[in-house]
Symmetry: C2
Subunit: 291 residues, 2 copies
């Protein structure tokens, strides 16, 4: 999830992602399972040290072995802060990883997944079973293939949780990084509801963090940036939870653990009460960045 | 700080570091200021997006722009947990970055820096003033050029803090990753004292984490692994604090902030009371790894 490589991959067999023009990382492709162009973007699935690895427009999206860093952190801080989420909307997220995390909540009655690109869902069904673990075929899930902005604008539903599980701005998701889209999402959030999204690297993309938070603050009274690490995105990565009333800082570590137990959510590779609080702690340079 | 690249840099002008055989990262060299072989290792200084960037044997060591991630996290959790550190020993650390963090403590009366390679100190003096900020010439600092193991074995001093600021095992520091060396360090620690060191990436090097913690636990009753992120090392990185009596978990976030204020330590880019606690929080898969 970084700037498009101006030069493509740096060496044969190495998949490259640039965080900036001069800094990036690479993973060797052991084999390409898929490499095609959908109507929206370039789609790739490779075998790699990270297991099956999924790319869009040359950007690493998710992999079997590290998907939990991204999906657990995108979903659980908001879902656990909500007292009892019943209805959720995911915009993007066609790989099913966010849906899988949401569906762990027994209170969840419906998840609507609005994904623009059917090819992403198809590829996930074929290769990424260990990411979605059947969530794409869960009876509580409704798949809407189409433009996310149009879907949100036309919707009359109220959602307890909205998860923006998007590619970076630049590709088909560009319109979903605007105050207009955030306002449309805010209008679809129930009075006690929260939206989460990933933003950018605080080290490589400080301006993107500033711009995103400014846009989010036009639409939501409470915007809480938090910090995690996603190996496949190159390290430290910021996310944010946005709400009218909910703030993840309301929960102690013990309360998070209590809720995880009460809601029967085990089998997490990353998230726990301590990590909920740790994600909210910010290094001094990031405090200054998000102020 | 990862495995030596089996193939060297992947493309001309790109400095590469491999976390594993198939996963790594790169930074463009804008210009090489130095590239020579000392009696111990290959030494390089480059200009880069990270400012001046220092490499040993092809491994990224430190850079002007991200040095605070590593040095603040290596030093402050232990130094702030100690009630009043007066005498410190650094093994390695010839760039002066750890010395600079230690010398921020007004109680600190002496820092001994035992570095095997004078070339590292020379290069730091010439290029890395913004890393050591004069610490290498501080009157409280004593520079001992020589083998770290020999120095510790021959020493009769007691240190309140020992900082192992080493290259990864494989080069000249290999003997400093052994139970024998840890026992020698433990013998030089004052009754209320702590040793800190960096270990490895919990994602790329889980076995190195297990082995290091097992070795440390042979020499220290209290071994506290903690987690940080070092962009120049490729993301998540584990460190540990080792002691007979001191445990960084003894301090609340507020107590850390109080001590920072009372000791007059401002101007930190990363470390604060919240981050002290956050570093001690471990994702579930790392809890299992360090158990």
């Amino acid at each position: 999830m970084a700037d498009a490589s101006p030069e493509g991959d740096v060496a044969p067999g190495l998949m490259t992602e640039r965080l900036t023009d001069e800094w990036g990382f690479f993973i060797r492709s052991r084999r390409a399972f898929e490499k095609f162009r959908s109507p929206y973007q370039a789609v790739e699935v490779h075998d790699s040290e990270f297991g099956k690895l999924f790319r869009l427009d040359g950007h690493f999206m998710t992999s079997e072995k590290d998907e939990f860093f991204y999906h657990e952190n995108l979903v659980h801080p908001a879902a656990i802060t909500h007292p009892s989420p019943e209805r959720a909307l995911i915009v993007g997220g066609g790989d099913g990883g966010s849906a899988e995390e949401l569906l762990k909540y027994p209170s969840l009655k419906s998840v609507t997944l609005a994904e623009i690109d059917l090819a992403v869902v198809d590829v996930a069904r074929k290769y990424l079973a260990s990411v979605h673990r059947g969530a794409l075929d869960d009876p509580r899930l409704t798949l809407k293939i189409g433009d996310g902005f149009e879907f949100v604008r036309a919707s009359r539903e109220q959602y307890d949780l909205i998860v923006l599980d998007l590619t970076d701005a630049g590709g088909p998701s560009t319109a979903l990084y605007t105050p207009e889209f955030y306002a449309a999402c805010a209008a679809r959030l129930s009075p006690v509801g929260a939206m989460t999204l990933h933003i950018a690297s605080p080290v490589a993309h400080p301006q993107r963090i500033r711009d995103s938070l400014a846009a989010l603050r036009t639409a939501f009274p409470v915007v809480t940036p938090y910090l995690t690490s996603v190996p496949l995105y190159g390290g430290l990565w910021m996310m944010a939870m946005c709400s009218t009333t909910l703030d993840p800082r309301q929960l102690t570590s013990m309360e998070v653990d209590r809720r995880l137990t009460r809601r029967g959510i085990g089998n997490l590779a990353y998230y726990n009460g301590d990590m909920h609080r740790a994600a909210l702690a910010l290094p001094n340079f990031i405090r200054a960045l998000v102020a």
